[in-house]
């Protein structure tokens, strides 16, 4: 099999399963009073008309434990195995099917005080052609009535890329991420969280396994995410809304809107159907098919459909059950479809195949 085929799988692997977040925006104003251990399994497949593309099998493990009265330690490990074929440009797939692996781990320590908490964490991710290391810090303050929490997070990541086709050797990428967020209890039945994140990076952003792919060596991403959880006690349900605006210096802007309804049922069951819509404009340097029309040596160019203009819908269904003694289990299925014609507010990129994916997750957790 050709090295580029193997390489393109690696590229997609790294893309499909990026690093675990170092410092997620926590909304909890109080220290957890019990630990939790979780196991989860992800089975992912995607395809385009007439061709299966990638399959990912990904078990992961998470543990969180309070100790010493005011400390919380947490960490996770994820292992990914990917196989299949990925596009070298537009919808043209590499011929061979191969399997590649990735392992990542992260750890975080948080200290709680009366009105604030601070945390530090680190993460490492390793695969044959990609090594990433990062560290982060976060701080949260809350009001005396604990109805308002303000969060600030910061993280730095350093990556080293050594693609098997050696188009670059020891290429570097450095990223700084910032988050400012607020979580507010609106009334006894509603809570809202709004985060602004800003990411600034420099280094090697091109995809070494996509033909002629040449991207800027600097990138800035500004995102505004707002989530609203509304309890409806009369029917024992919860409406969960999410909305995000994002601006990427590569030239793409995107909008995401999602809604879930968590319905509590007898015997500890909860059923949660969900719908998500996403739309993005194309990056400035994305050029339409046929390949390689529009390519000019020395100028930025990509034929990566992920940087094209499209819209996408996801339908999801999750069934969870709580058991006695702190056990819980859940099963979740997501179906995803991406089409140029579903782009909001303009024409999608022409000449691309519909892209589809489905992923299934099974999880079990135990508090202790």
């Amino acid at each position: 099999m050709a090295a580029t085929d193997r390489g393109s799988v690696r590229a997609l692997m790294a893309a499909a399963l990026a690093l675990p977040g170092i410092a997620p925006p926590a909304s909890a104003q109080t220290m957890p009073d019990e630990g939790v251990v979780s196991l989860r399994y992800l089975d992912y497949r995607d395809w385009q008309p007439g061709a299966d593309r990638m399959r990912v099998e990904s078990p992961s493990f998470y543990v969180m434990k309070p100790f010493g009265g005011s400390w919380v330690a947490e960490g996770s490990v994820v292992y990914d195995a990917m196989s299949g074929a990925s596009p070298r440009y537009f919808n043209t797939l590499s011929g061979a099917s191969v399997t590649e692996y990735r392992t990542a781990a992260d750890a975080k320590l948080t200290k709680y005080f009366d009105r604030y908490a601070i945390g530090v964490g680190g993460v490492v991710s390793s695969e044959r052609d990609y090594l990433s290391r990062g560290g982060g810090f976060d701080a949260r303050w809350w009001t005396e009535d604990r109805n308002t929490t303000v969060a600030f997070s910061f993280a730095g990541t350093a990556d080293t890329i050594n693609p098997v086709n050696e188009v670059v050797v020891d290429a570097k990428k450095h990223t700084l991420d910032f988050l400012v967020g607020i979580t507010q209890a609106i009334n006894p039945n509603a809570i809202v969280q709004s985060n602004v994140t800003y990411s600034q990076g420099h280094g090697y952003y091109s995809d070494p396994y996509k033909l002629l792919d040449t991207r800027p060596d600097r990138r800035r991403v500004l995102a505004w995410l707002t989530r609203w959880n509304q309890a409806v006690p009369s029917v024992d349900g919860t409406l969960k809304l999410a909305f995000r605006l994002l601006d990427d210096s590569f030239g793409s802007t995107s909008v995401m809107a999602g809604a879930e309804w968590a319905q509590a049922l007898p015997y500890g069951f909860t059923v949660t159907p969900g719908l998500r819509y996403y739309t993005q404009s194309a990056a400035d340097f994305y050029r339409n098919p046929p390949f390689p029309t529009g390519y000019v040596p020395g100028e930025y160019y990509t034929a990566d459909t992920r940087l094209s203009a499209f819209g996408a819908f996801t339908g999801s269904l999750k069934v969870a059950k709580s058991f006695a003694d702190g056990w819980s289990a859940d099963l979740r299925v997501d179906l995803y479809r991406q089409r140029a014609s579903w782009r909001l507010g303009g024409d999608g990129s022409p000449g691309l195949e519909t892209f589809s994916a489905r992923w299934i997750q099974a999880g079990v957790s135990k508090t202790f």
Binding site: R40, T175, L344
Partner: protein, 87 residues
Amino acid sequence: MTTSPRSSLRERRSRGAVQGVAVLAFAVLVAGCTFAPPKPWEKGELARPAMQFDADRLEARNQEHVYQSKEAVSGGYGVGGGGCGCN
């Protein structure tokens, strides 16, 4: 195909339309609620698992990673979630 001035203008207009719809939707959402933060004894509903954001850490991470790999870029949920060179 090189971007023409006309398509660039159309692009900008469509971005403006998308953002306008977004802001409007958010305003409607905010306007539709009563701001009356709960007293300590009124927090029973807020404490339920379904009312938490990202209650299951592994599930939230899997979701975000799938989308990050199939769409141009991710953001908004946390920091340090980047790190791969393959957009």
